[in-house]
């Protein structure tokens, strides 16, 4: 028979006749593929959704911001990134007038491409670019001016007709809290006003549509940003460090972590299944060698048998995963009204199949090693080959490297960076090898000292020692599975807390603006929940001996351009609960002392002891920096870079603004009070913002939940696989003990004690390791500060897994009907 025919015939015969041995690996691979396929589709879909949200919030994939007009086309060409579409916008604060009533407003001048993403919601009809003599105004502006659609509003030399009322802009959630009413003009309309824009403190925005922004594109944009110095800021939709955009990026990053963790579980699962197959088939394989089969043909037979299993499971699993995604998508659309976009299905199927096959091939490496190390003389004289322990460690090394290789490719693909891919998986390799080595050393030590323990414990230790490499791998895999599960669960809790707590709850229910000093006391008396802050505009003249404005005018690259703008100073005696002094001592209202935001201090080279001189309304105020503070710019609360003593800036005319967390009744009372007693004060209720925000957060939470469930399933499956394969190895030992007089119950107790004690130990150990991992991931990857150490749900989950392991063990034992005589037979009885 020729070699190909022999390989085909024998591999198919093995699969057909020994299908029971392949059921567990097949099911395991099938579910792994289903989960991996589903999670890849969900993650891609979720990422698309999040990107879409981020673009809508930002108004473009990339937004160039500058205080002076720039040639944006030149910028894109220098960066080598050409946008599909670009929208130029100009935003500034100015006064508009209607019926002799003036109003300070935030004007936005747009071109015909605005908005690139998202929709502009208007009181009536669909948005279209206003004509040159038309203007759009938001509701608060219309109320304050007392105008309706069709009325005339003047700005500069032109009078415009109000043609529609703005309900919400696409970027309204992300732009923080704009206190002034919004006015929208076309570029032609702005030209008619005949205002010299160089007199305006304007910001020029160039929003670009670049949907497939690669890492190299981003790097190139950043390099170009550096070439342009401080005149241009490049803002990326998915790379924001504040507020909602940060939340969206965070969830996208979490999805990447979830896929990687699932892939790791999948790798361990595929590997365990493969190793289980090889272990059970090993003796049969040795007979072939004794009968004259060449080892390479034996490897081919084994490889073909595995290939059928992997391919069949891979194809069926990918299909099931796809249909499960469609079903889930439909369910989410019906139940939660969230339309998840359909990602590139063929690409995902290819990635999924390739990953499963590559992991299987990588897992096959140890099988090949084992086969080549196989010596048929073991049939005759029994025992293992020489230098077993040395081979075990070499095997462990080879297995670890080969199994994790495909993971590096996946991580590189997901993180879009080879460096990050290698380093993230590298950390996992280190953890895996360290865990395995630690377990091997611990086991060795326990084995040498086993006489100090009771008989039962001593027996468990001996059995684990006798399991050799498979035992080490099984236990390490169990640890990795549980650690992955715990890590994901702890991360999910951290994220949930951030989204539903930090982000959602920190947004106040109302802001009040333009409170005059004379009104402050009365307002605080009536509404003590209000937190009011004085607000005094100032420019920095000097930091130590450097004349900041002069240096900026001279384009000194060492001076941050941001220092050229006007800052809002505040004064107070107390430190807020959301602030932490990172160095120095809080001034407690002492005159001449200044507290500075830590991040700004770094950028502006301000240190403790630095002397600052401000220019406030023509007068200079100076002070010494005595403390640096950590502030939370992501919280949605107002924060100030500079906090001075009331004594230093109280004498300047200032206004107050503030925020409050109020129930509906109090908030309504506040509105009525202000309308009646203080009509100059504006109340800005976040109620209109609330539903959109909550809906967005709910979307994110659902995404996180559905992405966390599949790894849970796969981890449980992996654990079940390990328990079943461990039972295969134990049943004969149990039979021997029974032959020596042990009862069936005592053997059962012994088996359960071994399985449960190890799972319990693995659970506790994995919980501790995952806390360390979550701290590292939160600090270096997600940049989240919230770390949950105690998670009741996770503890219950781990307890359920320990119980599940016990139940599976009990089930296997009770359903094993093979008689003792057969178990003790000389023959193989797998």
């Amino acid at each position: 028979m020729n070699d190909t025919k022999l390989v085909l015939e024998y591999s198919l015969r093995l699969l057909r006749r020994e299908w029971r041995h392949f059921v567990l690996p097949f099911l395991s691979l099938l579910i792994t593929t289903v989960v991996l396929s589903l999670i890849l589709l969900l993650t891609n879909s979720g990422s698309l959704l999040l990107k879409e949200q981020a673009r809508n919030l930002k108004g473009g994939d990339v937004v160039l911001e500058s205080n002076t007009p720039i040639d944006a086309d030149e910028f894109w060409q220098t960066a080598g990134v050409i946008p599909e579409l670009q929208s130029e916008q100009l935003t500034f604060t100015a006064t508009i007038l209607s019926n002799e009533v003036p109003l300070s407003a935030s004007l936005l001048v747009v071109d015909e491409n605005y908005p690139l993403y998202g929709t502009m919601e208007l009181e009536a009809g669909q948005y279209k670019l206003p004509a040159a003599d038309e203007m759009l105004l938001d509701q608060s502006g219309a109320e304050r001016l007392g105008v309706t659609v069709g009325d005339q509003i003047s700005f500069g030399e032109q009078t415009y007709t109000l043609t529609n009322i703005i309900i919400s802009e696409p970027t309204s959630l992300a732009n923080g809290f704009r206190f002034l009413p919004r006015v929208l003009l076309s570029q032609a309309g702005f030209a008619l006003a005949n205002i010299d824009s160089s007199f305006l403190r304007a910001e020029y925005l160039y929003a670009a549509k670049i949907p497939d922004l690669s890492t190299s594109n981003i790097e190139s944009l950043r390099r170009t940003e550096e070439i342009y110095g401080r005149s241009v800021d490049v803002d990326l939709a998915n790379n924001s460090s504040g507020g909602l955009l940060f939340g969206l990026r965070l969830v996208t990053d979490f999805l990447v972590v979830a896929v990687l963790i699932t892939a790791i579980l999948a790798a361990v699962n595929v590997y365990s299944s493969t190793l289980y197959l090889i272990t059970t088939e090993r003796k049969s394989l040795a007979i072939f060698l004794a009968l004259g089969l060449r080892k390479n043909l034996l490897v081919a037979i084994l490889g073909s048998t595995l290939a059928y299993t992997v391919l069949l499971a891979g194809i069926i699993g990918t299909l099931i995963g796809f249909f499960a995604f469609l079903g889930l998508n439909q369910y989410i659309a019906t139940e939660f009204l969230i339309n998840l976009p359909i990602p590139a299905v063929a690409q995902n199927a290819f990635i999924c199949l390739t990953l499963i096959s590559t992991i299987a091939i990588a897992s096959f490496v140890p099988a090949v090693r084992k086969t080549f190390a196989l010596n048929p003389k073991q049939i005759l004289i029994g025992g293992e080959t020489d230098n077993q322990s040395q081979q075990q460690f070499t095997s462990l090394f080879v297995i670890t490297l080969s199994t994790l290789f495909p993971l590096v490719i996946l991580a590189t693909y997901l993180l879009d960076s080879l460096k990050e891919g290698v380093s993230s998986i590298g950390i996992i390799v280190v953890i895996y090898v360290l865990t395995a080595a630690l377990f091997a050393l611990l086991l060795n030590w326990l084995y040498q000292n086993r006489s100090k323990f009771g008989t039962a414990v001593s027996h468990i230790i001996s059995q684990k020692k006798a399991d050799g490499l498979f035992g080490i791998i099984s236990f390490t895999s169990l640890l990795i599975a549980l650690t992955a599960l715990s890590t994901l669960s702890l991360l999910q809790t951290s994220l949930k807390n951030y989204l539903t707590g930090d982000l959602n709850q920190n947004v106040p229910t109302a802001y009040v603006l333009d409170v005059q000093p004379s009104q402050k006391a009365e307002l605080e008396n009536n509404f003590p929940e209000l937190q009011l802050f004085s607000n005094t505009g100032a420019r920095i003249l000097q930091i130590d001996n450097i004349l900041i404005q002069d240096e900026i005018a001279a384009d000194n690259p060492n001076v941050d351009r941001e220092l050229g703008r006007e800052f809002n100073l505040t004064d107070r005696n107390e430190l807020l609960s959301s602030e932490v002094i990172s160095s120095g001592v809080w001034h407690e209202g002492r005159a001449g002392e200044i507290s500075v935001d830590e991040e700004l201090a770094k950028r502006a080279n301000i240190k403790l002891g630095s002397k600052l001189v401000f220019l406030i309304q023509g007068f200079t105020v100076s002070g010494t920096v005595t403390s640096l503070r950590q502030t939370d710019s992501r919280s949605g609360l107002p924060f100030f870079y500079f906090v001075l003593s009331p004594e230093d800036i109280d004498k300047f005319p200032n206004i107050y603004f503030g925020y409050a967390y109020l129930d509906e009744v109090t908030q309504s009372n506040l509105g009525q009070f202000l309308a009646r007693e203080m009509p100059n004060v504006t109340i800005f209720e976040t109620k209109t913002l609330g539903p959109a925000l909550i809906s967005l957060i709910n979307t994110l939470m659902i995404l996180i939940l559905i992405v966390t469930l599949p790894p849970l399933l796969i981890a449980t499956l992996l654990i079940a696989t390990l328990v079943v394969s461990a039972y295969g190895a134990r049943r004969r030992d149990g039979a021997r003990l029974r032959a020596l007089g042990a009862t069936r119950q005592s053997v059962l107790f012994h088996y359960l004690a071994e399985t449960i004690s190890l799972t319990l130990f693995a659970s506790i150990f994995s919980y501790v390791v995952s806390i360390v991992l979550v701290i590292l991931i939160n600090q270096f990857f997600l940049e989240l500060e919230t770390v949950i150490l105690f998670n009741l749900e996770l503890i219950i989950g781990l307890s359920l897994i320990v119980t599940l392991v016990g139940v599976i063990g009990l089930f296997l034992f009770k359903t094993d009907t093979m008689p003792l005589r057969a178990l003790l037979s000389y023959e193989s009885n797998d």
Binding site: L291, G292, K377, I379, L380
Partner: protein, 228 residues
Amino acid sequence: MSQENTAVLTLQKVSKSFIVKGETLSILENISLTLNRGEKIAIIGPSGSGKSTLLSLIGLLDKPTSGEIFIDSISTNFQNEQTLAQIRNQKIGFIFQAFELINPFTVRENISVPLEIAPKNTTKASVNSLIQAVGLDARSEALPSTLSGGEKQRVAIARALVNDPQIILADEPTGSLDRETGERVLDLLLSTVSTQNRSLIIITHDENIAKKMDRVFEIKNKTIHERH
């Protein structure tokens, strides 16, 4: 007994040792032995004396530390793995104490394995006639798990003979069988070997079996001696 004095197997000063924890453990020393065509010999010795190690060396499953093994006057010492596998397949037939049948293969398929592994031009005996010869024609499509111990060993005998090998190596072939079955299996083995003029090396503890052979060798103190 037709005995042609043509050596099918020659061992010249064969020694085997293992390195265990850095120390050399000698198992066999200076073993010399010749097996002629059609000859049946028994190797006896206490447990741990190195009988199975010797069989694994003769069966080319292991390599000697020193000395030389000739099969059909060809030295096997410097042959590569592929050639050794080919010699095992065509010139040697194995019978193991624990039968070592391939569980997922039927009786017929188990017996056919050496034929299927062989290159195309190898002389092939009829599988059917062998199945008949060992009395398993009614069970030819059965799987090993449904066979009795005696039946399994008869399959193993047929498998060992199917490729017309010069040498049959049997390691305690009746060790896992009851006395009556064991005797029947041994009779079958000896008669088949005699009929087909094969050479047989049998490893046994059983003096009664040893007495049925042409020559008996005993391994003692790592060396081999012929009993007279």
